[in-house]
């Protein structure tokens, strides 16, 4: 159970951090490059700590295959354009922040310690993403169109975040999301049946490709030290 939780938390951070790190050197503005990289670094840091509670973090990151990864489907969705990336961050961080806050307050000491340190970083991620939702939603016609598409893409994976005991987080998440969308002049994407399975190791097609790239060196040179 403990290691199950460590893997979920670690894999969420690792996969999202990996995706975000691909923006480095390619963001729309230099200042944004630094911001996205900061978020990626925070997430990879958190992932390293959480995975460490389940075993050897590198071993877990580089030598598991898709069936053993426990991240949610949302974080493995591709970057797409900046709007799609922001949509993903917005939906995820506004869930992750209250989730970590609860974990810091009620979790086992080892988890609570990591959560307490991480929640401050994630508060910033949530604020950053929510502000960009407003800028893009209430920016130009083009940015609004792209954001609507991005949110629509990601909305399929929202329900999975609230499986099991996380259902209690839904009201706060709803409030945060609706507040930002309202300020952005946007509607919620159409309701639909959520796609789930990530927590059981049944992922989207994207994860396999992501792992191929991420794990290549360790797989090509088994047993090597880096």
């Amino acid at each position: 159970m403990r290691s199950e939780l460590a893997l979920r938390l670690g894999d969420d951070g690792l996969i999202l951090g990996q995706n975000l790190s691909a923006w480095c050197g390619h963001a729309p503005m230099l200042e944004l490059d630094l911001s996205l990289s900061n978020i990626a670094l925070d997430l990879i840091g958190q992932a390293t700590l959480f995975l460490g509670l389940a075993g050897d973090a590198d071993d877990l990151a580089f030598r598991r295959d898709v069936l053993d990864f426990k991240n949610c489907l949302l974080v493995e969705q591709p970057n797409g354009d900046f709007a799609q990336t922001i949509a993903r961050q917005f939906l995820f961080s506004n869930w992750q922040e209250p989730m970590l806050r609860d974990l810091a307050a009620k979790g086992e000491p080892a988890f609570a310690a990591i959560a307490a340190k991480s929640v401050k970083e994630v508060a910033y991620h949530a604020r950053f993403a929510s502000e960009w939702i407003v800028r893009l939603g209430d920016g130009t016609e083009e940015s609004r169109t792209r954001l609507i598409k991005g949110l629509d893409w990601m909305w399929r994976f929202v329900d999975e975040l609230f499986e099991g005991e996380h259902a209690a987080l839904r009201p706060e998440w709803d409030a945060r999301i609706d507040s930002a969308l309202r300020e952005a002049g946007l509607e919620r994407p159409a309701a639909r049946r959520g796609i789930v399975g990530g927590r059981e190791g049944h992922h989207s097609e994207h994860l396999g490709h992501l792992l191929s790239e991420m794990q290549f060196l360790q797989r090509a040179y088994p047993g090597a030290a880096w």
Partner: protein
């Protein structure tokens, strides 16, 4: 400076960082941002990545008025005949402490 009047470039902001309480804000550099929230976040991500600050100020660069270096003599050099403002003008006998 040759910038097109309807340039879509994000304006420039000057960044001031207070490294720790008790110190003043010091000018750290500048960032481009479209609005003040973004400027603050860009300043944080650029100038305090290594935890170098407790407080940030961002100010649109064009809100700052600078003195003209040619006026430096007038503004900053003590007038030659007003030396009584300098502590060195007063002779303090030896043995008097804390002054």
């Amino acid at each position: 400076m040759s910038k097109a009047p309807n340039s879509k470039e994000w304006p420039l902001w000057e960044v001031f960082v207070r490294a720790k309480n008790g110190l003043s804000h010091r000018h750290a550099g500048s960032v481009h941002a479209a609005d003040s929230k973004m400027a603050l976040e860009a300043a944080r991500d650029t100038y305090t990545r290594r935890m170098e600050g407790v407080s940030l100020w961002v100010v649109p660069s064009n809100a700052i008025t600078a003195s003209d270096p040619r006026d430096a003599d007038e503004l900053f050099a003590p007038a030659e005949d007003k030396i009584y403002r300098h502590p060195s003008f007063y002779v303090i006998p030896e043995g008097i402490k804390n002054i």
